[in-house]
Symmetry: C2
Subunit: 196 residues, 2 copies
Amino acid sequence: MECAVLFSGGKDSTLAALLLESVYDVTLVTGQFGITDVAGHAREAADAIDFPMATVDLDREVAAAAVEQMVADGYPREGIQQVHEHALEVVAGLDYDAIADGTRRDDRVPTVTRPAAQSLEDRHGVDYLAPLAGFGRGAIDDLVAQLLVVEAGPSDAIAKADYETELRALIADRYGADRVADIFPAHTQTRVRGLR
Amino acid sequence: MECAVLFSGGKDSTLAALLLESVYDVTLVTGQFGITDVAGHAREAADAIDFPMATVDLDREVAAAAVEQMVADGYPREGIQQVHEHALEVVAGLDYDAIADGTRRDDRVPTVTRPAAQSLEDRHGVDYLAPLAGFGRGAIDDLVAQLLVVEAGPSDAIAKADYETELRALIADRYGADRVADIFPAHTQTRVRGLR
């Protein structure tokens, strides 16, 4: 069975792919708004862990609405959630048997509730999988240490293929770099550089 | 890393083991009260899917209390939950890096809440994994069809290595066979006979 794993080049989506590959033919799928070079970063990360990879175009209007939401809120949570739901809808409309993401037990955002998952599955005739939904922080940290080579750094310095990178760029373009720092508190990002 | 997967010989715990084997050294662990030949059924099922397997003794007093609960309730839910929590505690006390079960997104029982999972992890210094927590019924059915040879039949005719089999026997012994049928409505059970 063919499974598309939403891929950001980070550790969660990489671990999701590694868990699923024993039972699915996994393709990493990266959504791009076309704001930054998401495709290039995703390709590099996918090559490093040796998975096939594809990109899918996301709707620029969704990015614009998410950015307005974030600027109004002063924090990124709701905007990220909106973009993730959009990406799931787009990938669910492609020709895979299953779609998956890297959402974890302890994640606050993005989240996919049980009714939202069921609705996605029913409307698109696809299975939605969250292989890390039953994994806590300790398990993730142990798996990363065991399986992955990662590069960690400040969130404004690590170029990933995730929504945040493109949304930050859009906010910087429209509202200035200071606004980005207001909305996204400094945090550590990790990017996967390879398998151990 | 060594992971113990709580194993009943059914499809859920088998799929949990198959998902985890790409990233863990999996041992199937079957809890037994010593009421029926759980170890024999578990060994047969484990051999059929080619995983190493161990048994662990559960506390007969927990079985007795669960049966009292079920008889008082007239349904099995709370009793099964108590036994599952006991089994997790026992296996968490063994020498594995991680323990896992086959609980699914849509399961009503047994369930392991996020705080319960965190508590188990903190007290025992172990990772608790629920690899199917992010899988719905459709995904499970698709995986079973793709990967497993299963035998299905009425729940009183399929001998599995699960809690239900032993608790049914204990109820029959103490309260008679009719009481078993009252408490456990007739349902279809599946037993895994091999891999496709």
